[in-house]
Subunit: 390 residues, 2 copies
């Protein structure tokens, strides 16, 4: 990782996707001590560009706009995991020696669409033929998983709601001091009462259990080790990556509320990096809803099944605990610009491993970080492990 860049994640704003991406990409390229002409390919996540602003196939236009003329420029669409797929394939392309320098990233204007339209449109990334017609927008999916989680692990729903509120409180605390986050300066001292009594989106999920839709872009420049050594003095390397898929959510019902693809994907990443869950110092994981954090932290092997709520309550999932989860604020506070989210996670982990984030949310001495991105309702899962050093 020789350079990273990110716009602030935000609510509705006026820049086009091309303009937003250019801001993040230019920051990443400048930080890499490279020129745009040094970039050999662009791998870009974007899920909703055609719906949000009538722009399909955004990457060639992005490439031209940032001065990376004529390079291969691919759009990856894997719902929320789009940019993580792009980063993983950029990693494969560089690690295999096909490219020496690749810019990966993502961009989205999901907030500009408006929450109602974005929710409805975005539901197309679940199974459109059997599940969506049954009413399974994503809030409905995660509400059902919350009920199933409570039933499976014998937690009274009221108890689970408190645990979910703890997840939100921690995310909001860190996000409130992240200047790149959508809720920067907001909700840092929100009370459990306020969360529990905020309006019901889909029972048992209330407003504050749900991440916002966001506009934003993130970009990272990957270079082969021999090239990278000439470009950066703060080395961060990708040492493992995994990806797995699943089809319709209902077909993995023996497994639920665990997400099968996550366990397979993370095992690939751990194996490739030669590390174990307990070696990870921080993880940016896919907390599209508070319940999603609990499920993810267990699937990644950080806490026992049904126990991660307690871990949050005890501070084990916080900075200074067993593992620092979402010190950026995560999707719930930093924001969730769908196609950019995974690249934003890689941005955060890289900054953390370099020791470059705000002191209040810096994981001191972090050496190994991980990302976790979920596309759809369990259909696509990508994990990336990054380590300080070469």
């Amino acid at each position: 990782m020789v350079g990273v860049g990110e716009t602030r994640f935000s609510g509705p704003q006026d820049k086009t996707g091309i303009e937003l991406f250019a801001e993040a990409a230019t920051e990443a390229i400048n930080e890499s001590n490279l020129k745009p002409k040094d970039i050999k390919a662009l791998f870009i996540g974007n899920a909703l560009g055609d719906f949000a602003e009538g722009q399909g196939m955004m990457p060639p236009y992005l490439a031209e706009n940032i001065g990376c003329f004529h390079v291969p420029a691919n759009r990856y669409e894997g719902a929320c995991a789009s940019a993580s797929m792009a980063v993983r394939d950029a990693f494969i392309g560089v690690a295999s020696g096909f490219y020496d320098i690749v810019l990966a990233g993502g961009v989205e204007r999901a907030a500009t669409m408006g929450t109602a339209l974005a929710t409805r449109t975005f539901a197309m990334f679940s199974d459109a033929h059997y599940e969506y017609p049954a009413g399974t927008t994503f809030p409905a999916v995660f509400a059902m998983l919350a009920h199933l989680y409570a039933a499976t692990y014998g937690l009274p729903l009221a108890r689970l709601r408190e645990q979910m509120a703890r997840v939100t409180m921690q995310s909001y605390k860190h996000g409130s001091v992240n200047p790149k986050g959508q809720f920067y300066g907001k909700y840092g001292d929100i009370s459990m009462e306020k969360i529990l009594t905020s309006f019901v989106v889909c029972s048992p999920l209330t407003l504050h259990d749900c991440c916002p839709f966001s506009d934003g872009a993130a970009a990272v420049v990957l270079a082969a080790a021999d090239v990278a050594k000439k470009l950066t003095k703060k080395p961060v390397s990708i040492t493992g990556a995994g990806q797995a898929s699943n089809g319709t959510l209902s077909n993995q019902d023996d497994y639920l509320p665990r997400i099968r693809a996550r366990e397979l994907s993370s095992q690939q990443a751990y194996k490739m990096a030669g590390v174990k869950p307990q070696d990870i110092d921080l993880c940016e994981l896919h907390d599209c809803f508070s319940i999603a954090s609990l499920i993810a932290a267990e699937g990644l092997g950080f806490f026992d099944y049904g126990k991660s709520g307690e871990a949050w309550e005890k501070g084990q999932a916080d900075i200074g605990g067993k593992i620092a989860i979402n010190p950026s604020g995560g999707l719930k506070s930093k924001g969730h610009p769908i196609g950019a989210t995974g690249a934003g996670q890689v941005y955060e982990v890289t900054k953390q491993l370099r020791g470059e984030v705000e002191p209040e949310r810096q994981v001191e001495g972090a050496r190994i970080g991980m990302t976790d991105t979920l596309g759809g309702d369990g259909a696509t899962l990508v994990n990336i492990i990054l380590e300080r050093g070469w």
Copy 2:
């Protein structure tokens, strides 16, 4: 290439994208003497699934449906070049040793959308902010290129229209005997008069200058050479691949009607394969409009600039001529299921190199074939070179 499969390309039909793709993929896997569980990843082109049937992120659902459980499954969206991008990246993934067996392909239900809606929706893959609002749907883009082509090379427009009609007549002739083609059994003996007097879509382009929208799917299985040698006795290998991008069409105006990205992409492919344009026996090129064939054949180096119309008239672009162009019938007759088209070209070239197509359209003794796929109005270009043997 250890196995290829393709549905018939068609007008509107009732199968879902998942069902269509399963048909092509199952054919390809069976022909490969493999089981679905042997496939390590799916790389899939799809441009319009969210618009055509409300299904975004189709690949994980495709993977599950064909029994390739839990593999990484990526959606590539590069407009018409989507599947070619997928095949090229599958090639890179296999050639680099990261994967041993990958299934690449594409699927689209563009015909089911209806021509008016598909044309309007599909125009989002041109530049959405400056060019589309000026009226540049794709028929408009290629109509302008036709005018510019005539002016640049000093051809009276009436003369160019006759040359374009020759392109159509040749495509229709081959497509009429291709059972996988949309116009199978149709238009094989169409007259020039009929073409020239068919209704005007966008002057000077008439109906028969334009390809149809199509439903269809195609899939190919790529395996590392050592694996492939155990699976097939009719070896066809990818020996070169190139990809290049361009942004807005108007920004390459010094170059037009040549398409800059094509020249860069094909040079990459030729260089990697160590061959020259004159070594290519057949080429499936991107004839979304008849004028597009003339421009493509020149950009790929088969004929001099401004001279390819004459080549078509003299049979030099036909089977038995200098190079056999679009013996499948091409987009104009075989059909154009956007996100599947590039994989369909690879299917055709593979079948040709194996000597397995209908006798009337078999390029006898073909040894080297090429594909050419254009995404948008020059924004994405992919070329793949395939050779008989190892």
